[in-house]
Symmetry: C2
């Protein structure tokens, strides 16, 4: 673990990586220690996630969260500084989840189809948790508040699949874009999205 991989969100300016076909399919970075919030905060986050996933982003109000917990909205501020802090907490949870999911997808993929497997896993997670995915993806969340290293670790599978930090960033961005457009239904009904994702995988499979 002496040589850490370039983090996804900030590759080193000079790549020291060989551009050969031998990919670093083994995991490199260690999973960062997950944040362990106080019990009541964890309950609030769980309730918030529940509301977000079941009822949508518009329903995620402080008053609604309080209602679910049998509490009035202002009492939430005894545990959380702001709604943004709550969003950050949710992002932390989702980031750890999706990171684990993507790492496992790379672990289990056939060597020849890593990129396609990764894209498929990414898409699968986003479609399974659309509102949660939008939460830690869209909008500006205060990245400084996230556990250090978590974001890099979550993005590492793209580096494992491409073997190059810039291709990793590009593939991550591309997959993110495709998933976002799908979530927001910007493709007219009838589009064969499988073929679009296949085209994306093909472009990065070289």
């Amino acid at each position: 673990m002496t040589s850490t991989p370039p983090p996804l969100s900030s590759p080193p300016l000079t790549s020291t990586l060989p551009l050969t076909s031998t990919l670093p399919l083994t995991r490199i970075a260690v999973r960062p220690e997950p944040a362990r919030p106080p019990a009541r905060v964890a309950e609030i986050l769980a309730a918030a996630r529940d509301i977000l996933e079941r009822e949508g982003a518009d329903a995620l109000t402080m008053r609604r969260i309080g209602e679910v917990l049998g509490i009035r909205a202002p009492s939430l501020y005894k545990h959380l500084a702001s709604k943004d802090a709550l969003a950050t907490g949710l992002a932390e949870v989702a980031l750890a989840e999706v990171g684990e999911y993507l790492h496992r997808a790379v672990d289990e993929a056939d060597a020849g189809a890593v990129v396609a497997a990764l894209i498929g896993a990414y898409r699968g997670y986003a479609l399974a948790h659309p509102n949660l995915y939008r939460m830690f993806t869209a909008g500006r969340l205060p990245r400084a508040a996230l556990s250090s290293g978590l974001e890099q670790w979550a993005g590492e599978p793209f580096y494992r699949a491409t073997g190059d930090p810039y291709r990793a960033q590009a593939l991550w961005a591309a997959t993110h874009g495709a998933v976002l457009l799908e979530l927001e239904e910007r493709y007219l009904p009838g589009s064969d999205l499988d073929r679009t994702y296949a085209a994306l995988a093909e472009a990065f499979a070289a």
Copy 2:
């Protein structure tokens, strides 16, 4: 103009296009007639755009728009049904603008570097108008309210650059994702984004 190209957002399920390297670099679809809103509505849209670009999305309030126009907020509803309708109007303007910009970029590109030129133009527009770009991109805008064909026409440059509807969709999504991540500063400072975009262009240059 008898054979229209497959629209970007909904390619035909069976592609009738040759996958050769001869790209349809000429423009195919005609630019749809731009919507011509009543004069006062156009003034409101102009003021809204001004506020959005100069002061950010949070400042784009009905009261603020009224203030700029020397009007009270409720009076805006004599011209617009809702704030969503206003957002739709802005999206229409931006879509026409970016479409024209991208088409021209493809027009003027060297034959061997169309994809890179297109990506560069897309990135350039988004960076020049970040808040406007987010407006018609993020969030859910009622696509039914947009001028029919406008969105397809605006996306056509990606088809012109790739020659295949699915690669076009994938490239569009990928560029969109990369630009979004850049706008939301999800790359840590110090990242050489030019290289990331280059990697993206390279993947689609085949």
